[in-house]
């Protein structure tokens, strides 16, 4: 193992990891927003929107991110939608993640009983307040394991972003592998992903444990 090589190339990986984290952060955040909105639309069964949302969720969940990205990055510009790699990566991750997050939130929402809704109504809460103070907080706690699994899954999916010419961790690694030093490069690659994903996994595990203790289940 060539330590000098690892030390010399470390900064490159650091910069690449930053990019991965940035894109993942915005992609996952937007996924959560899209997912929550879709789940609420499905929860209230709003007539037309509910069908559109269901169709979107099925499309997002039953096709690979790479194919979605290829379509977004190489296909759509031909039809006049032009975006750069980073925007495309975030859009692709949001399209994919929105579908998964919607399912995660939907599970939580459907766990909130009709009686809780009525109790909220009976103290005069309006529809929005009911969601904000009664339904969503309870649904979030129930959904947390699914949200955690989806977040980790989306973090891992970011590894394909080099296909839209984003200089992320895989891109850098592939570049260096051409020069040899494969075991050092792979060590850096594995270490970088561990450094990025492991903390998130641990934070979610901690959150889940905490919520279970503060737990509901009356």
């Amino acid at each position: 193992m060539d330590l000098d090589f690892i030390l010399a190339k470390g900064p490159i990986f650091l910069a690449a990891a930053q990019l991965t984290v940035t894109v993942a952060f915005f992609g996952i955040l937007l996924s959560a927003v899209v997912g929550l909105l879709c789940a609420v639309v499905k929860f209230y069964r709003w007539p037309v929107a509910h069908r559109l949302v269901s169709a979107y969720i099925e499309l997002a969940r039953n096709t690979p991110l790479m194919v979605q990205l290829f379509f977004l990055y190489f296909g759509l510009p031909r039809l006049g939608f032009i975006w750069e790699g980073q925007t495309c990566a975030i859009l692709g991750l949001t399209f994919l993640g929105g579908g998964y997050m919607a399912e995660a939130f939907r599970g939580g929402l459907s766990a909130v009983g009709k009686d809780q809704v009525e109790a909220g109504l009976s103290i005069g809460l309006n529809r929005f307040q009911l969601l904000r103070y009664v339904i969503v907080p309870q649904a979030l706690a129930v959904s947390l394991p699914a949200i955690s699994a989806t977040t980790i899954f989306l973090m891992k999916e970011t590894s394909v972003f080099s296909i839209v010419a984003l200089p992320d961790l895989m891109y850098v690694a592939k570049d260096l592998l051409k020069e040899g030093h494969s075991s050092e490069t792979n060590t850096l690659l594995v270490a970088s992903y561990l450094a990025v994903i492991l903390p998130i996994s641990l934070i979610f595990a901690w959150l889940e444990r905490r919520l279970r203790f503060a737990g509901f289940g009356s």
Partner: protein
């Protein structure tokens, strides 16, 4: 007390579930400060009646007039009405992610836009009255059934309702906890709060009620004072209903003793 001003008027109220009629043209008037206890066999529509009064069930016909306002008008702003009509449910339905105090403060602060201080003062007053001020930071799962139901009553009272609806509030409680909840309600009745109570606790009904409404098959069969109703019900149906709560002595045939002995 009975001569008070009319608070609630129900006229020919009709409610159907699918094709089945649950309330078949029910008419009832409630005056200020009256305590009405609604009793009747299960499925007679007593819970449905309360749920209609709080807008939890759409109504199929007739009128509900609360303080001169037609609640059967589809334009009714239910959020505003529900602040004035408190409701307590059989299964407490406290919000499990909020502490007892947060459960109580939610309505006054978010719906009525009261200041935190004002809402807190009121919550403190009521929680003290039901002996739960010490438990204000507990989550619902940390409270017993009786405690949960007392918090739920306070949650409704904290909105300053003009009328309270109690829907079988002791039906899910262990027997030893029924008393603490009924005492709270009795206490409120003595203060002159207008109340509609659905219950299966006959002794409590007799003690707390100004009027007993006996409901059967979607309509009012008897509307009288507790003394008259319990001692001398006017209808055969009421008599049969009251008989359910009596047990005759059981005369065991001699033969059955052998079996009991063998099992021991």
């Amino acid at each position: 007390m009975l001569s008070g001003q009319v608070v609630l008027k129900i006229k020919d109220l009709v409610k159907n579930y699918d094709q089945r009629a649950v309330l078949k043209g029910l008419t009832l008037t409630v005056s200020q400060g009256e305590v009405l206890v609604v009793i009747g066999p299960s499925g007679c529509g007593k819970s449905t009646l309360l749920r209609c009064l709080n807008g939890l069930e759409p109504v199929n016909g007739g009128q509900i007039i609360f303080e001169g306002q037609y609640l059967t008008d589809p334009q009714t702003n239910w959020s505003r009405i529900r602040q004035r009509v408190g409701m307590v449910f059989q299964n407490y339905e406290l919000f499990p992610h909020l502490t007892a105090l947060e459960n109580i403060l939610l309505g006054p602060i978010k719906v009525q836009n009261k200041s935190r201080e004002e809402a807190l003062a009121k919550a403190e007053y009521w929680l003290n009255r039901v002996d739960l001020w010490d438990r204000r930071h507990s989550f619902p799962r940390q409270l017993s059934g009786g405690q949960k139901q007392r918090v739920a009553i306070v949650r409704a009272l904290a909105m300053d309702p003009e009328i309270m609806l109690f829907d079988e509030v002791t039906a899910s409680l262990d027997p030893e906890m029924v008393r603490e909840v009924l005492d709270v309600i009795t206490n409120l009745a003595q203060e002159g709060l207008t109340m509609l109570i659905v219950t299966h606790e006959m002794a409590f009904a007799r003690a707390v009620a100004d009027r007993i409404i006996f409901l059967d098959d979607g309509g009012i069969v008897e509307d009288s004072t507790p003394d008259v109703f319990f001692q001398n019900p006017a209808t055969e149906r009421a008599r049969r209903f009251l008989n359910i709560f009596h047990y005759d002595d059981i005369h065991k045939p001699n033969g059955s003793l052998n079996l009991a002995k063998n099992n021991l």
